[in-house]
Structures are given as structure tokens and as C-alpha cells.
């Protein structure tokens, strides 16, 4: 191709395009490369696994990366004590199916021991940081995989695929290593660890298209179902043990689904008739509200909510 163009640009035809990998295949290969790099270069990695769709996709990628061998690292779950029971059940079945070791960090235990205090608003998501760091330190994990994506949030958009954390798990956005080509630098000193985000470059739609293509099982609450809900903070909240309506909040039955499955006390449902993965793919492609803005009360606290939590050691 000699294309030193001295005239105005002309459009190139798409002839070569058909030979290229699809964007989903390219993203998959990139993620598997990163997962293998971390396993090869770190002593003791673990995968943060909540049963949420991003972590389920991460685990699926790990099974593909090491096939026909076992996934060579344990999974770590920070249980807020307010998780949806069906998600905990899904987590346990998945761990069993893949023969994995499960490490659980429990927010409830920290509260019971008086090392964490319940927040006035009852939300436990911000309380996950302490048990997470405790689990990382006591298990001597030097790399922790997460399903974070850069399209989720402004702070994540600036975070590296391998994100170095200090002894306190803190992220320093001003002092990040440049990430060049596909050469990842995971060097760290004693006390530091690395958070690895192999699906950084995926969007929410990519994740759903991948779940569809690979026929990946998810907890049922990602799909439309009837549920008793009440309105709070502009979201539909499920009626449950830890999420009770106030006297003025009317309980009604709606057909809803969840776009994220975090802590019951702060995760809202969206009205949806999307009962199959195909329905969800179309809904996500058409949605005009970002995932976190629609369903996470904790991100609404301030525009910089995620940035603050990441600096404090959150994922």
C-alpha cells in the first residue's frame, strides 16, 4: 500500500474487512491474553466473583484460557450479607461445577466484631472495601481479577488494565504506569498488589452479546420476572428482609429485571419484559440510560462517587 495521500482523503473499500476477527473475538482474545499473563507472572492470583454478569463472563473466559485444564486460581466473594439469595445459590453451584476454591470475605462478620459500622442509609456496598483488603492480605493474593469495564464510569475510563494498589488498596490516578502495546507490567513490591481488569475494553452490550453467543448461564434475576417492589430514589426496590418499604412507600407487583446484582439494599430493578438473553441484548442496545446510573443508588451520591471509592481501595 503506498498511500501517501496529497489530495483529499478518499474512502477505502471494505474488501479486507471480512477477513478480520469480529470485535467480540478480538476482545475475547485480548482478555484471555491478559488472564494468562497474570497467571504466568503472579504468585497467587484470585478472581473476584459475585455471581454478577461481568464476573461470570470473567470466569467463563478463564475456563477458555486454560482449557482443558482447571482454572488455576480461587474465586473471592465479598458477601455484604445483603445479597440476593438466588445469586448466592448461583455462586455456590458455579464454584461446585468448576471445582473451584471459594474464599468469602464477610461484611456481616466485620459488623458483628464491631470493626465496621452499619451506615445510616443501610447501604452496605461502601463497606465492602475493608473485608476485601483483609481477604487479599490474609490470603496473600498478589493479583485480583475484576470484571470492571471502562465504559461503566469516568474513573474507570482512566484506569489501567493492570492497576497497581498500595498497602491500603488505594488507586493513585496521577501515578499510573503507561500501558504500551500488549506488554503488561505487573511488577510490584512487598505489600503492593495488582487489580487486573481483562474486560476493561468491553461495553455493556459486548458483555451481553458474549453471554448470548457463548450461552452463559446467569442468575435468573437478570431476566424479567414478577416481583414485589416499591419506588425509592427513582428506582424500583425489591421488598426483602433488608429492604423494607417505609409507610408511605406503596408495594406493587411489577415485571422487572436487574441490570446489576449488587447489594439488595442499594440495587434497583428496571421495568422490563426482557425474558431471554436475546431480549436483553436488544434492550441494552436500545437503552438510553447507563447501567450504573439506572440501578445503583450508591453511584448517585455524588458525581465523583466511584472515584472516591476506588481511591479508598474499592474495585
Amino acid at each position: 500500500m503506498s498511500t501517501f495521500i496529497t489530495e483529499e482523503p478518499t474512502l477505502v473499500t471494505d474488501a479486507a474487512e471480512s477477513k478480520r476477527l469480529s470485535s467480540l473475538d478480538t476482545l475475547e482474545s485480548e482478555a484471555i491474553h491478559i488472564i494468562r499473563e497474570v497467571v504466568a507472572e503472579f504468585e497467587k492470583p484470585a478472581l473476584l466473583f459475585s455471581g454478577g454478569k461481568d464476573s461470570v463472563v470473567m470466569l467463563h473466559l478463564a475456563t477458555k484460557a486454560f482449557w482443558p485444564g482447571k482454572v488455576p486460581f480461587p474465586v473471592l466473594h465479598v458477601d455484604t450479607g445483603h445479597n440476593f439469595p438466588e445469586v448466592i445459590d448461583f455462586r455456590d453451584r458455579t464454584v461446585e461445577r468448576l471445582g473451584l476454591k471459594l474464599v468469602v470475605g464477610s461484611v456481616q462478620e466485620f459488623i458483628d466484631r464491631g470493626e465496621l459500622a452499619e451506615r445510616a442509609d443501610g447501604t452496605r456496598n461502601p463497606l465492602q472495601t475493608v473485608p476485601l483488603l483483609d481477604a487479599i492480605q490474609s490470603n496473600k493474593f498478589d493479583a485480583v481479577f475484576g470484571g470492571g469495564r471502562r465504559d461503566e464510569d469516568k474513573a474507570r475510563a482512566k484506569e489501567r488494565i493492570l492497576s497497581l494498589r498500595d498497602e491500603f488498596g488505594q488507586w493513585d490516578p496521577r501515578n499510573q504506569r503507561p500501558e504500551l502495546w500488549n506488554l503488561y507490567n505487573g511488577r510490584h513490591t512487598v505489600g503492593q498488589h495488582v487489580r487486573a481488569f481483562p474486560i476493561s475494553n468491553w461495553t455493556e452490550l459486548d458483555v451481553w452479546r458474549y453471554i448470548e453467543r457463548e450461552n452463559i448461564e446467569l442468575p435468573g434475576l437478570y431476566y424479567a420476572h414478577d416481583r414485589e417492589v416499591f419506588a425509592r430514589d427513582g428506582m424500583w426496590r425489591a421488598v426483602g428482609e433488608v429492604s423494607q418499604p417505609l409507610p408511605h412507600e406503596e408495594v406493587i407487583t411489577k415485571t422487572v429485571r436487574y441490570r446489576t446484582v449488587g447489594d439488595m439494599s442499594c440495587t434497583g430493578a428496571v421495568e422490563s419484559a426482557a425474558a431471554t438473553v436475546r431480549d436483553v441484548v436488544i434492550e441494552v442496545a436500545a437503552s438510553t440510560i447507563t447501567e450504573r446510573g439506572a440501578t445503583r443508588a450508591d453511584d448517585r451520591i455524588s458525581e465523583a462517587a466511584m472515584e472516591d471509592r476506588k481511591k479508598d481501595g474499592y474495585f
Binding site: 473499500t13 485480548e30 482447571k70 461445577r97 469516568k154 504500551l180 427513582g234 428496571v270 421495568e271
Partner: protein, 473 residues
């Protein structure tokens, strides 16, 4: 509370052009302070409908709080790419940010590289993975020294496509003569730098107004003298770097790890009917193809430092239970070989007879990315492919004046310098000239003390066997 549905958009994304066949295109933006880069990126995201309702609302709220646009009102699109609170408070951008959007033809990953003092570091980072880089010029200012510096860095990194967006064309009354003059200057700089002369890179110039959207997503009627495509059309149709390169290059595969389950097979694979006996002695080499392609039956060489290349045949290409006949960059696969060599992480599998001897003498261009300067005699680590070796900096042989592209005398390199150096490696590596191999010609220089990345390295030929005077020491 309910999910708003824009079915037209969903149809465009899912049906008219099936997403399953859409490919990925990575590009970066580079520009000087105040040339409107954030506005351009915001415009691309906004007009390609990548900005969702709640994000737009937040930006509209902030724009009106700050009185953006005066009486006219309007949305400050630059806010869409404003990242961290620390940056908003100081009105600066501190680091490369990644954005995502899709049209019905392609999915895009945009590395938004800020243009302040650390521009070399950020541009090198963004450009290292980019298929194309969009460089912004303010139409009122024309080609500045910083433009020359940006183009120099892109030339060194062999970015496949350089697109110069002449922004704020509205502020020069959509003047054709202003645009033509800038276009001629850009092409002149391109010729001086050799940009495009090697047959890989090309250089395109597009007049735009990021603020008003002219020639960003749609062709503008206000520039009738410009008959070329809008910026987004250019990005949708340029061939990606791997399309340009993969058929030209020979197979290269750095081994990441060996998959050898020795009976410890994945329980889900066994439950799905995997033949346990057949996989008892399974041994495959896992990695990502960095260049070229490979077929079952191909002759390959295994390159291990300190050993002569060993030649064997590919007997299988596996990917998670699927056997492939052929695979090409950038696929991640596992390769089985006819002979049971001792192959380990850090070795490279390459098309037989296409790699020259490994060497411990490394001649390179270094883009210095650390505040800690490089001095002769320093001990560093070099990460190349999947191998990291110790190295001694034998000499620094000058640094580039990016404005003139001349090599100046220097015996140390500081942050944002690009210079020439000679290193001695503790073990030989299969180094290849970056001019022809964007992956196997690239390496990192790492600080052995704190593990930080010090430099992006580009392998040069040894003195005596290279063809281009400009690259000589």
C-alpha cells in the same frame, strides 16, 4: 425508573448490519492545549449517539451551572470527557482516558490523550495500540511546533494512519484558502518526517468544527470546497493495522504458559464428555499470535535464549475445545507441536526460517516516560514478548529534536525525551526491527527497584545493517 427504548437505534446496531461481523478499530487523539480536542471527542461520542440520556443530563446541568455558551446556552461537549474530580477542579486532563462507541460498521476504542506537558508519554501510550491517530490543529494557528512533535512521535511509532483534523474552521469563516495552506504545511512536515513514505502510514487532512459538528460525523454544507469524507467516515473505512500487516508478516507467537493438566482436567469439560484418557498427556503452548498466521502442518522454529532454534511441525491449534485449522493475529490460542521439546514461557514460536539469530546487543530508540532520567551504566529490566531479562545501558547515543527530527548529542534521557541507546542483555532475545514488526520490535524498560515502566523501546537494526540514514547512530 423504566428503561427508555430507542428501537431505531437498536435496529441500526443489531439488525441492519449484524454486530457479529463488525470489527474493532482503535484510535487515539492528540492535540495541544486549547485546540478543542475534548470538544471533538465529545462531539464524536454525542453525534454517534454513544452518550446516554443520564450522562447528557448531568453535562447539561453542569454546562448551565457554569453559564456555558452565554445567552445562546448549549452543552459544553468537552464535559463529556472530563474525567476525575481532581481534573474538573483544576480544569486539566491528567491521563489517557478510554472511550467506547459503535456505528453500524465498526466498534471503536478511543484513547483520549491529553496534550499538556506530558504529551509524549501520553501520545506514545495511546498510539502504541492505535490503528489511527487523530491530531488536532487550530485553524487559526496552523501547524505549530507541537504539531511537528506529535507527528514525529507517530512516525517513530509507525502508526498506520495519521488524520490531521483542522479544527475551529468556523472561526476562520470556513475559508478554503486557510485550510489549503494548513493542508500544504501538514503534507510538507509529513514529507520531512518521512511520514507515509514507507508505504505503511498515510496522512489525511480534514477540516472540522468540533463545536458545531461540521465534517465530524456528517459532511458539512458549509465547506463545499471540501469533497472528502467526514472524520467518522474516515475512521469507519480505514483498514486496521492488522489488516495492513498480517499478510505481510511471518508468524510470531510468544509462549505465555504451558497447558499441561496431567489428569487435572476441568470438571465441567469432563462432565461435558471430554475423553479423559485422550487428554492425559495433553501439552500445548498458550499465547496470543502477535504477527502473521499459522496453519496445522506448518514448519515452525522454537526460539529459546541460549539455544539454537529447534524446528518442528504444528500438529494442532486449540481454542477452548475447538480445533482450528488456521489462526492469525491477534488470536489467543494453544498450539501443539509434533516433538516434545522443552518449551517454556518466554520462548517464541515462529515460522521456520524467518527469524534471524537472537542477540544480546540491543540497539533501540527509547521514549523515556519516567521522571527518573536514564544514565549510562544503569541496570534495568527489558520486557520483550513474554520474557523479562536484565540489561545494562552501555551508552546513550543522543536524543531527537522532535521539531527538526535531528539527532542531538546527549548522554542521558529525561522525561519525554526520545533518544538512541545501546543495551547489553543478560540473555539473547529474538529482536526484530520495529520498522517492520510493531510487536516483536517493541519492548518495555522497567526499573528493577520499584517495578515502574521507564521507557517504551523500539528495536533498531544493528549499526552496519540498516538502510536508513536517519536511524543511524
Amino acid at each position: 425508573m423504566t428503561t427508555d427504548i430507542d428501537t431505531a437505534r437498536a435496529a441500526a446496531l443489531l439488525d441492519e448490519a449484524p454486530l457479529a461481523s463488525a470489527s474493532l478499530f482503535r484510535f487515539a487523539t492528540a492535540g495541544s492545549v486549547d485546540d478543542g480536542k475534548s470538544t471533538l471527542v465529545g462531539r464524536l461520542l454525542h453525534d454517534s449517539k454513544a452518550i446516554l440520556a443520564d450522562q447528557l443530563e448531568a453535562v447539561a446541568r453542569t454546562s448551565s451551572d457554569r453559564g456555558f455558551g452565554g445567552d445562546k446556552g448549549g452543552i459544553d461537549l468537552a464535559l463529556l470527557t472530563d474525567g476525575l474530580r481532581a481534573e474538573r477542579e483544576q480544569g486539566i486532563t491528567i491521563d489517557v482516558a478510554y472511550r467506547y462507541f459503535a456505528t453500524d460498521r465498526r466498534s471503536f476504542i478511543l484513547a483520549d490523550c491529553p496534550g499538556h506537558v506530558q504529551y509524549t508519554k501520553n501520545t506514545v501510550t495511546g498510539a502504541s495500540t492505535a490503528d489511527a491517530v487523530v491530531v488536532l490543529i487550530d485553524a487559526r494557528k496552523g501547524v505549530l511546533e507541537q504539531t511537528r512533535r506529535h507527528l514525529s512521535v507517530l512516525q517513530l511509532l509507525r502508526v498506520a494512519h495519521v488524520i490531521v483534523a483542522v479544527n475551529k474552521i468556523d472561526l476562520v469563516d470556513f475559508s478554503e484558502s486557510v485550510f489549503r495552506e494548513i493542508e500544504a504545511d501538514v503534507q510538507q512536515v509529513g514529507r520531512e518526517l518521512g511520514l507515509g513514505s514507507d508505504g505503511i502510514a498515510d496522512l489525511l487532512v480534514v477540516p472540522v468544527s468540533a463545536l458545531d459538528g461540521d465534517n465530524v460525523v456528517e459532511r458539512s454544507e458549509r465547506t463545499p470546497w471540501y469533497t472528502g469524507p467526514a472524520l467518522l467516515e474516515v475512521l469507519e473505512t480505514l483498514p486496521a493495522a492488522d489488516e495492513l500487516e498480517s499478510h505481510l508478516e511471518s508468524f510470531r507467537f510468544p509462549v505465555q504458559l504451558v497447558i499441561r493438566p496431567q489428569g487435572a482436567l476441568a470438571p465441567d469439560a469432563v462432565a461435558a464428555g471430554l475423553d479423559v484418557e485422550a487428554y492425559r498427556d495433553y501439552r500445548a503452548y498458550a499465547g496470543q499470535i502477535t504477527e502473521g498466521s499459522v496453519k496445522v502442518g506448518d514448519k515452525v522454529s522454537v526460539l529459546t535464549p541460549g539455544q539454537d532454534p529447534r524446528t518442528t511441525t504444528v500438529i494442532g491449534i486449540d481454542f477452548a475445545g475447538v480445533s482450528l485449522e488456521e489462526a492469525s493475529a491477534p488470536q489467543s490460542v494453544a498450539i501443539r507441536l509434533a516433538e516434545e521439546f522443552d518449551v517454556a514461557r518466554g520462548d517464541t514460536i515462529a515460522a521456520a526460517g524467518t527469524v534471524r539469530e537472537s542477540t544480546a546487543d540491543l540497539y533501540a530508540q527509547l521514549c523515556w516516560l519516567s521522571p527518573k532520567p536514564l544514565r549510562e551504566g544503569a541496570k534495568v529490566l527489558v520486557k520483550h514478548g513474554t520474557r523479562t531479562v536484565q540489561a545494562l545501558v552501555r551508552s546513550v547515543n543522543g536524543k531527537l529534536d522532535l521539531a527538526t527530527f535531528n539527532l542531538e548529542g546527549a548522554s542521558s534521557l529525561e522525561l519525554n525525551d526520545i533518544g538512541h541507546a545501546q543495551l547489553r542483555l543478560a540473555a539473547p532475545l529474538p529482536l526484530e526491527n520495529y520498522l517492520h514488526h510493531r510487536r516483536t520490535g517493541a519492548f518495555l524498560v522497567i526499573d528493577p527497584l520499584d517495578g515502574n515502566t521507564l521507557a517504551a523501546g523500539l528495536v533498531k537494526d544493528h549499526p552496519g545493517d540498516h538502510e536508513d540514514e536517519r536511524y543511524s547512530i
